[in-house]
Symmetry: C2
Subunit: 186 residues, 2 copies
Amino acid sequence: MNSNSFKNIFEVSDYIFNMAAEAGACDEVPVASAVCTIDPDVLNNTDQNLNDFIHSFLRGEDLKGLKIIGKGTNQILDKKDPTAHGELTAIRDACKYQNSERLTNSFLITTLEPCIMCGGAVILSRLNSVLFFAPALKGIGMKTLLSQNPGQTHAFNHYPELHHLTEYENQASEMLRSFFRLKRTV
Amino acid sequence: MNSNSFKNIFEVSDYIFNMAAEAGACDEVPVASAVCTIDPDVLNNTDQNLNDFIHSFLRGEDLKGLKIIGKGTNQILDKKDPTAHGELTAIRDACKYQNSERLTNSFLITTLEPCIMCGGAVILSRLNSVLFFAPALKGIGMKTLLSQNPGQTHAFNHYPELHHLTEYENQASEMLRSFFRLKRTV
């Protein structure tokens, strides 16, 4: 994708909620994800690091240089590809944009906690942090994966920070619940 | 890929070892994977099920209808894609061949135990079994993932069988060790 400029978490969350709703309208599980970064020109001309920016983002502040550099929705049925989750697609999209297999200076925001596959992809891509809305639907997600294998065991060579954004949980979970409710009644 | 017919485990392991060596020659970590199946014409005209065929395969017997329907090597650097592991690529390739997001009637054979990301992709694709040569290099792999979250916990909605083919372990591990030895000395 081309990079898109955004002001704050409200704009970014609206954007991914809209993407998730569009996926749901196409009969895919309504999940959407975006890889965000801070423009290097901004990041390199301040004494703040990416974590400072992420904490401002989490507090709802306006950020200079905030961009979405990769996005994705669930497209498993459309692409006939079990790996076409929103997170994995967003990561691949961002890597293409950055022309790099590493996303060290970026973070992922996603309407649903990443599954094991996507959690693995987050670790491999060295994303700084993951911000998720709804916790894993059932079974284990990225939070359990990291807590089962804490940093000091060296189970992984990178430990991204996880942030569960509970203020968006209801909206994200309800979107998923109504999707599955509708599927059961059809 | 177009489907390729193979006779037995010796031919398939030669094939993936050759692919892994080619990846190594291109400076990628030498890992290769293939998704195998039994031709439905053969499978539907016998009283054996896929597990029976896999057990014959593991015993080194010749199998009728054995095919590779997806293959992949590590291409992280070439594709600038952290998700371009051999297993994930082979799964996507096989799904394209089958025109389906499910690989229920297939099994994966791979020179290295799948990582967490690829283990997740195996589960999502519903592959019947995973046959691997070398155990995970460091950190946790698919075996640990499944043993940390055993079947009765319903952590996952599918539990593929794992087979560690120890008779191929030395060759696969040595290929990896010499690759990294060379990298360190360059």
